[in-house]
Symmetry: C2
Subunit: 129 residues, 2 copies
Amino acid sequence: MKKQRNTRQRQLVLDVVLARGDHPTADQVYADARAIDEKISRGTVYRNLHTLAARGDILQVKLPDVDRYEELADRHYHIICTECGAVYDAPIPYDDTLDRRASEISGCDIKRHRTTFEGRCPECKQRCE
Amino acid sequence: MKKQRNTRQRQLVLDVVLARGDHPTADQVYADARAIDEKISRGTVYRNLHTLAARGDILQVKLPDVDRYEELADRHYHIICTECGAVYDAPIPYDDTLDRRASEISGCDIKRHRTTFEGRCPECKQRCE
DNA sequence: ATGGGTGCAAAGTGTTTGCAAGTAT
DNA sequence: ATACTTGCAAACACTTTGCACCCAT
C-alpha cells in the first residue's frame, strides 16, 4: 500500500464521522465538514471516506440507495425505518455460524453477511396510529 | 388501488423476469425486453418493474449499488460474489424469530429483514488460487 | 371516452474522476 | 523535491419524470 498522508481534510472527515456517532451518508458528512471548513469539496469527502474505510478507521455500511459510514465497531446488524429513513444499530448479535453454514452448503467462500431489519421506528410507529 | 391495465409492455417485462430465473438488474431486463420489442423504452421498464413489484408479481431484491428483481418466492437470503458480482439464493432458511426479537428489544415495528452473504463463488474461489 | 400507459428526452441523485495547483513528508 | 491530496467541474451510472400521444377497458 502506498504511503498515506495526514491532511487537515482527512482528519476533519474522520472527526465528523466520530463526532456524529450515528450513520451519516457521504452527503451528511460533507455538510458537517463544510460547516467547519467552508472550502472542502465533495470529491475530497468521498475520497477520504473511501480511504478511511479501506484503512479501517471507519466502517462503510452498505445499505440500499446510499452508502453510510460509522465509527469502527464489531460486526453488527442495522435497523432502517421505512418511514423516516433513520438507521440504528440492531440489538441482535452477529451470528457467525451462519457464515460457516452458508459456506459449507453453497460451496462459496463466505466472508461475512450483512443483515438489515426493515420496519417502523418507535416515533413513526406512534405517529402512524 | 387504482385499476391497472395489462399492456403488452408490462406483460413482456414480467415474462422476461420469469424467463431468466435469476436476479437481473433493471438494465438487464431492459436489454432482454429490447431484444424482443425493439421499441420498449427504459422508462417503461423501470415503471413496470415498480408496478409489478408493488402488485406482488415479482420481488425487488434490494442490494447495494443497484436493485435487482426476481420471481415471486418465499423470503430468503442472497449470496453475492465480491469478485464477479453474481447473485445466488442462499441455502439458509429465513429466520423470522429474528424479526420478533428485534421488534421486542428495539421497540421498533420490524416487518422483515434482508440478509446478504458476501464472499467468493466457487468459480472465483478456484480462479483466485 | 377516458384515464392509465408509452416513448422520448430532459432532469435528478449519488458518486467518480481528470487536471492543474497545493502541501505533507 | 517528490508524489500524495485537494478543489473544481465535468463526467458517470442509475433512476425518475414531464409531456404529448396512444390504447386497453
